[in-house]
């Protein structure tokens, strides 16, 4: 390394570590990634179960929850019949757990930690101990959030967006402790994300192996780099807002309380100034993973690698100037609304580049439909739906009737489940062999994919239509509205599909653990990949990742290159060791290395 480097932390430590240092307070980025994986999958499951309870109420309003109904307390669901305040907590906590405790750590905590050092050829993160801190601080945050279910007054029930003044004064909801725990938990969780982001950015900037130029970085790492910037700059905004809201709740500062001059819209502005970058935090790493998987499983270079990078950066930048599209009907200045509308709609352009480049990658490829590839292709097709529904809402006049209806719920699940979660499934099944040394069971994997894909569309596609017809979101009992009663059978159908969907996830859970212990042993590079983590690092990679510092010679997506007889050309393979095809090509027509 040309730069002076801290002696502690960057060099690989090769001595034996005890159980605690290996599995609990490990500083190895790969172990931390696995810890994040297990913790956030647990929260994902919890979020799914909360959705199940919610769907019960929506599909069968007022009927007692079967089987487990008796387990609920008097203040939540006496006799299994859900109370409205409990329903509000369910919606809030479903959104909160899914966004902050499941998808965000799955994207950043898991893939940021696991992939970045391996893909850039570094032995570990720049700050391994900070990394340990990043994981372990998220655990108390999670516990505090869970504790909210037990306190008097119930858990926070103001939605994951916690609009003030509803969230700012217990007088309006009867929830005091729950809301405070919600605020404290997210404040603490912010430190986890923040330290992670500092680590990822420093690592990517300063610790790339020789030859790993910016435009030879694999796209997952590029996406994680840009995402880390979003985290770095968006999370503190949220932290500031949370703290002010906490002061409003506890000592009555009144920032957002109109009674004393505060401004409710200010909360919305600050929240969404964080919130919209946040939704891109939730999808950009997924786009990176999907690019990698599609290129590999099509045995073709990523179509337009450079424009993919440019698109990631422009989505991230545009993401900062569109937050007002969540506030078109909020009473915001309509002129401001117009400018937000225009910037929002323009985001479709870099998104279009991404979508078409994925299709370009598949075009004339040699497609292998392994489990990760299925999920990746599902990601592309579902993101198109979710993105296109975004265009309706981005048009402020059309947003008037559909704002705060199930149309929004449909949109957000298409981008978050169809987008982020499918990308995560793709990532888990793709890197599983690297992480655990065993293949992810393909049969069950495919079964899980197809069941999920169909059930998921059955659950969320009809919601577009319900929203158009005025089905308001966050309502506890749609059957109380006469005009929604005609939709009740559709609601019931959706609920059945949702139960089925959640049950299908058990296949995944089973397969996950079964493959971990019983799966077929993986070879070093089962996907014939070019990137360093597969082509060079052993499976599973040891502490310190690489035996020696890798030297990188070319871009990550040299699949089916005419330069080589193999259909892949690892990044670290010196040019003189490439198996060249017998027929020399005329000079000048040689494709360049990136």
């Amino acid at each position: 390394m040309a730069t002076p480097v801290a002696a502690s932390g960057t060099g690989a430590e090769h001595h034996e570590l005890g159980f605690i240092r290996t599995y609990i307070f490990s500083t190895d980025h790969k172990m931390i990634a696995k810890q994040f994986l297990v913790a956030s999958l647990a929260f994902l499951l919890l979020g799914g179960l909360l959705a199940a309870v919610m769907r019960w109420q929506l599909g069968f309003p007022g009927q007692p929850i079967p089987f487990i109904g008796g387990l609920f307390s008097e203040t939540t669901a006496p006799g299994g019949i859900i109370l409205p305040e409990f329903y509000n907590s369910l919606v809030t906590m479903h959104g909160t757990f899914m966004i902050f405790f499941a998808i965000m750590p799955l994207m950043l905590g898991v893939w940021g930690n696991y992939l970045i050092p391996l893909q850039i050829g570094a032995p570990d993160m720049a700050f391994p101990r900070l990394n340990t801190f990043s994981f372990w601080i998220s655990i108390p945050a999670g516990l505090i959030m869970l504790a909210g279910f037990l306190v008097v007054g119930g858990h926070a029930g103001a939605g994951w967006t916690a609009y003030a003044p509803l969230s700012a004064d217990s007088e309006f909801t009867g929830v005091y402790m729950g809301q405070i725990l919600w605020l404290v938990s997210l404040t603490i969780l912010g430190f986890s994300s923040l330290t992670g982001a500092v680590n990822y950015i420093t690592t990517i900037i300063n610790m790339r192996a020789p030859g790993m130029t910016w435009f030879r970085i694999p796209l997952p790492t590029w996406a994680l780099f840009v995402t880390s910037w979003l985290v770095l700059l968006a999370i503190p905004i949220l932290t500031g807002a949370l703290i002010m809201l906490l002061f409003d709740q506890t000592i009555g500062t009144g920032f957002f309380a109109p009674a004393t001059g505060g401004e409710p819209l200010l909360w919305q502005h600050i929240f969404w100034y964080f919130g919209h970058p946040e939704v891109y935090i939730l999808i950009l790493p997924g786009m990176g993973l999907v690019s990698e998987i599609i290129a590999n499983r099509s045995r073709k270079p990523v179509f337009g690698y450079h424009s993919m990078v440019v698109a990631i950066i422009s989505i991230a930048f545009l993401g900062w100037i569109v937050w007002g599209h969540h506030m078109f009907q909020s009473g915001m200045n309509p002129m401001l609304g117009t400018s937000f509308m225009i910037s929002t709609i323009i985001i479709a352009v870099p998104s279009a580049i991404k979508v078409f480049n994925w299709m370009g990658t598949v075009w004339r490829g040699d497609l292998h439909f392994d489990v990760p590839m299925l999920h990746a292709l599902a990601f592309v097709s579902m993101f198109i739906i979710g993105g296109l529904s975004g265009i309706f809402m981005a048009s402020a006049p059309v947003d008037i009737p559909i704002h705060d209806t199930y149309f929004i719920v449909a949109h957000l699940h298409y981008v978050l489940f169809g987008g982020s979660l499918f990308a995560i499934f793709a990532g888990i099944t793709y890197w599983f062999p690297k992480m655990f040394g065993r293949m992810f069971g393909a049969k069950l994997g495919k079964a899980h994919f197809w069941l999920t894909f169909f059930a998921y569309n059955l659950v969320f596609f009809p919601m577009h239509s319900m929203g158009l017809k005025g089905h308001i979101r966050r309502i506890y009992d749609p059957s109380q509205y006469t005009f929604l009663q005609s939709m009740q059978s559709l609601n019931t159908l959706i609920s059945w599909a949702a139960f089925f969907l959640i049950a299908a996830q058990l296949i995944f859970a089973f397969n996950f653990f079964w493959s971990m212990f019983r799966g077929e042993k993986a070879v070093q590079n089962p996907w014939n990949s070019n990137t360093l983590e597969w082509a060079l690092a052993p499976t599973p990679p040891p502490h310190g990742n690489f035996v020696a510092t890798p030297q990188v010679y070319r871009g990550p997506y040299e699949y089916s290159s005419p330069e080589s007889t193999d259909d892949f050309l690892p990044q670290h393979l010196p040019p003189d060791r490439v198996q060249r095809p017998p027929v020399p090509r005329e000079p000048g027509s040689l494709p360049t290395g990136d």
């Binding site: 730069t3 801290a6 700050f127 610790m207 910016w214 030879r216 700059l233 500062t253 004393t260 290395g593």
Partner: protein
């Protein structure tokens, strides 16, 4: 590996371009800068709130000097600026390998920094005594209903924003003082040398950043 490589060069096409360095600073320093950028955003949310609320409700805020004690705080600002220069002197000292200078200047920084926090505490106590409180509820409990009435000018938003902003700044200073104490202890153990003094540089960056925030805060909170 050469000891000095030119800054980032885009040699994407060459197959064996050897090494593209990152930013030519060590990890901790880069990490500290990156972290400070997030601090910028944190203070943006607090200061931004203040600016916006003040713009929306000018009647809640008083003219400079009417409520806040400008001379006292100007003096305190002087203190903080002094602590910045002592900090930078400490760094300059160790760059030259001057251990004694390092320790003395660090000690001076700690003392001045602690004084800043102390004076801020005195200021808070005095202000609260005058009825300038952070919470609207207490504000009303003091029997002041409107914007004009009572001993203190301004409305509840004034106190709320004031204490939140300056309070978080003060917390940052306090954390800085604690870290400086650790750096001083390490300095006394001879941990830093003229060639490796990263700890001093890092705490210096943080300290100057906190100073920088104060420069902004002092102007927009006390003077505008």
């Amino acid at each position: 590996m050469s000891s000095h490589t030119p800054a980032i060069q885009e040699n994407m096409m060459v197959h064996d371009s050897t090494y593209e360095p990152g930013i030519q600073v060590y990890h901790m320093k880069l990490g500290m800068w990156v972290f400070l950028l997030s601090e910028v955003m944190f203070f943006t949310s607090l200061i931004g709130t203040y600016i916006i609320l003040r713009f929306a409700h000018p009647d809640h805020f008083a003219a400079p000097g009417e409520v806040l004690n400008v001379p006292l705080t100007a003096f305190n600002t002087f203190f903080l600026i002094c602590s910045s220069v002592t900090m930078v002197k400490a760094f300059a000292a160790i760059q030259k390998g001057d251990q004694k200078g390092l320790k003395l200047w660090l000690l001076a920084t700690i003392v001045i920094g602690a004084c800043f926090v102390g004076i801020q505490a005195i200021e808070y106590v005095a202000l609260v005594h005058e009825g300038f409180v952070p919470a609207a509820a207490e504000y009303h409990a003091l029997g002041r209903t409107g914007v004009e009435g009572g001993a203190v000018l301004g409305g509840p938003l004034y106190g709320a924003t004031f204490y939140t902003m300056t309070g978080f700044h003060g917390a940052h200073v306090s954390i800085g003082v604690i870290c400086l104490v650790f750096v001083l202890i390490r300095a006394m153990r001879g941990h830093y040398t003229h060639s490796d003094h990263r700890g001093v540089e890092l705490i210096g960056l943080y300290w100057h950043f906190v100073d920088l925030v104060w420069i902004i805060l002092f102007t927009i909170v006390y003077l505008i």
